[in-house]
Every structure is written in C-alpha cells, then in structure tokens.
Symmetry: C2
Subunit: 230 residues, 2 copies
C-alpha cells in the first residue's frame, strides 16, 4: 500500500451511522482507501466496529489517530496528525509524547505516517480543540507548508477545512511550494464539481461529511476525482 497512489479517499466517522449496504457502496466505489477518524465521540468500540465492517472489502483501511484510547490494532496504516498551526504545544508534540509513554515500545513504525495538519476552518471542532491559528494569510500558509514539507520533511501535508469548502487560491499557493510531501485536502466537498476543482490542485482528495448527507453525490466524487488530471 502506497499513499502516493491515493487520489481519492473516503473518511468515515466512527461516531456516525452507516448501514451495511451504504458501507458496501462506499468500499466498492473505486475509492483508493478508507480512512477512519473523527474528532468527537471516537472510542475503541466504535472504531473496531467500523474497521471490522470495512475490512470485509479488499481496499486499504487506515486509522487517523485522534486519541490514544481508540487506537485499534489491525489497520493497514496509522496516520498521526501533527497540527502545526495549533495554539499550544499539546497538539504538536504533547499528546504524541503521552501516547509514546504508554505504547512507544510497541509501535510498528513502518505502519505509521505523520500528517502535518493545517486546520483552516475556525468553526471546526478540531480547530477549537487545538486552538488553531486559522486566519492565515496565503504567505503564512505557504510558510507552514514549507515547515512540513521541507524543514521537517513529513510524508503528508494535510490542508483541513473540515465542515467548510476551502479557498482554492490558498490551496494552489500551498501546492506551489510543496516538493516531496503528499498534499491531502479535506473539508466541505458537497458537490462533484468541487471534488474536481480540488483534484486539480491536491494530490489526494478526502471526502467525508457528504457521505452522511448525500451518499449518491459522495459516490460520484470518486470518478470525478479520478478523471481529473492534476
């Protein structure tokens, strides 16, 4: 499994409901991977339940770690967010070190990839939780991108507008400075045309909330992204 091949990913929230036929449609949609993660209400039990239901299908299933208590074994990959524009050190280093105190000796590091996160919607739960500095100018966003991509050399730069559709101009500016990281975009994609617009800029388009609001549209984003040349 190589994240560099992912163009489209569905992000499923363990705290939200999907029936079996919906999960089947999502997993057989042609998407490149299923990412499981959320900000609120994520527990060991609802994470393992959702993983087990996705695991019936032969596509990569990865966990985005939101808290140490919901880290379930058996995923193909564990994505660890490092919120570079967080207001406190906790979400950059602190929580990670707490987790490593308990589990550091047990981690299979080849199954872990750190995501340099830039959170940009001030109303998102993740922004409130991390006290993220969301009102970035384009120049500031580029500087954060360089920090992730060139200074710390993380494998993933995740531009996150969770809950609202982002600014393509900002994303394009970020794109222009990224040299090696995989550029993920997530947030507010509710229409097929938006998925295509983002797919022209980002390497990987993450589609989340619309799954729970309009599954048919969500499914259509797969071909839209895959047919778009970056």
């Amino acid at each position: 499994m190589d994240i560099k091949e992912w163009r489209h990913v569905f992000k499923l929230d363990p705290d939200k409901e999907l029936n079996d036929s919906q999960i089947e449609a999502i997993c057989e949609s042609g998407t490149d991977a299923i990412m499981i993660g959320g900000t609120q209400g994520v527990s060991y039990d609802n994470t393992i339940d959702l993983m087990a239901r996705v695991r019936r299908f032969p596509l990569p299933c990865v966990l985005e770690v939101s808290n140490i208590d919901s880290v379930v074994p058996g995923f193909d990959l564990y994505l660890v967010p490092m919120v570079v524009n967080a207001g406190s050190a906790d979400w950059i280093v602190g929580k990670h070190v707490e987790g490593l105190m308990d589990y550091g000796a047990l981690v299979k590091w080849h199954e872990v990839a750190v995501e340099g996160y830039i959170i940009l919607n001030p109303k998102a739960e993740a922004a409130k939780l991390t006290e993220a500095k969301t009102n970035l100018t384009i120049e500031e966003a580029k500087a954060y991108a360089r920090f992730v991509d060139q200074m710390v050399k993380l494998p993933i730069l995740y531009v996150e507008y969770s809950g609202t559709y982002g600014d393509p101009a900002l994303l394009r500016a970020v794109r222009s400075v990224v040299k090696q990281a995989r550029l993920f975009y997530g947030g507010g994609i509710k229409e097929v045309s938006q998925a295509a617009e983002i797919a022209e800029i980002a390497d990987t388009v993450i589609v989340g909330n619309v799954i729970y609001e309009n599954l048919q549209t969500a499914l259509e984003t797969v071909n839209s992204v895959k047919n778009t040349v970056k």
Copy 2:
C-alpha cells in the same frame, strides 16, 4: 560533509571572546566540526566575524540557528533546533514559520538539518526562553526521543544540559530507543573523563563552555572522545 561521522564538535559562542591563537588551537585540535551558536547576544555581525575566523581552517563550520537575524550565508550546514519539550508552540513551530515567511523561498534545503532538542537544565537560558519542561522522568525522556527519532524522523536528537553535566542514566535510556537519528549530547563537560563517559553513550559529543574556562582541558577532550569506543 556527513554529520554521521562527527564524534566530537566544538561549539563556539559568537558573544564570547577568543584570540587568534586560541581559534587556531581549537580548529587544529582534530575535532570533527565547529558549530557556531549561542542563546544570548548572537548577532549577524558577531556571527559573520567568528565564521570568517574559523573558515581559515579546513574543517566543517556549521551554524546552529538561534534567531533569524543572525543567519549568515556561507556555512556548510544550518542546524535548526526544534525544542520538543518547549512549553509553547513558538519554539517548536512558530519561530520557524516566521523565518520561513521571510526566507522560505531562498533556503537551500540540502544545507539544513533539523535538531530535535530536549533541554534538560532548568537554569539554562535556553530553558527559560523556551519555557522548557525540563523535569522529565526517564520514561518521558524516552518518549520525547521516540517522537524525534521514530515519529517525526529528524536526523539529529540533541540532548542539551547546557551549563550543567547531565545524567548519564537518562542519556543511556534515550540511547536505547534511538534507531536512526544521530544522538548529540551537549552540556557541562568540564573534564576529560566526562567527555569519555558521554562518548560511550552519545554519537556526538559537543564541547562548549569549557573552551572559555580551561582551553587546555577542552582541547584534551578531542582525543578522549575519539579514543572512546561507543
């Protein structure tokens, strides 16, 4: 120039005085590199002056960046500290992003290496400045080391006791979990026997303050380190 070959490094402070014969003795001591850096009183002028004086000798001369205003061109390598146990996000990400706002497009990234810093002497200026959480248990220190070495995969882990001699037991515990980073130790080496003790544990021994207190002893640490098998 490969930092993986450095066993012994002298760290010179631009804010402190050395005459030409002292600089000659330091540069011809057999040390592997000269690192220029400090916490207070570091300016563009005193940095470029010291660099020019060291540059007369054919050994690597690198800058440890302490503030963006004293970044002088012409060093072989720029070491950028990321203080992972800092109390605020400023010394982990913030200052770096400020610098990247101004100079991000100009940086030659192959000349930059990020140091994951753990600052452990609460009385050191760097500890006060960064509000570092210095009272780490051995288990906490190991978790920070894993964060640097395995999670973020930085090329250097720098255990810094600036001004006081460190705890070899803590350093040994950190050593035991480091897989890929170069382990630097700096702080409080005032005797040849201390240099040897650290050289048994760390990859690279940084000798600083004793240069200004007892140059002869400082010079003797070179062979002490080089003759020690890790």
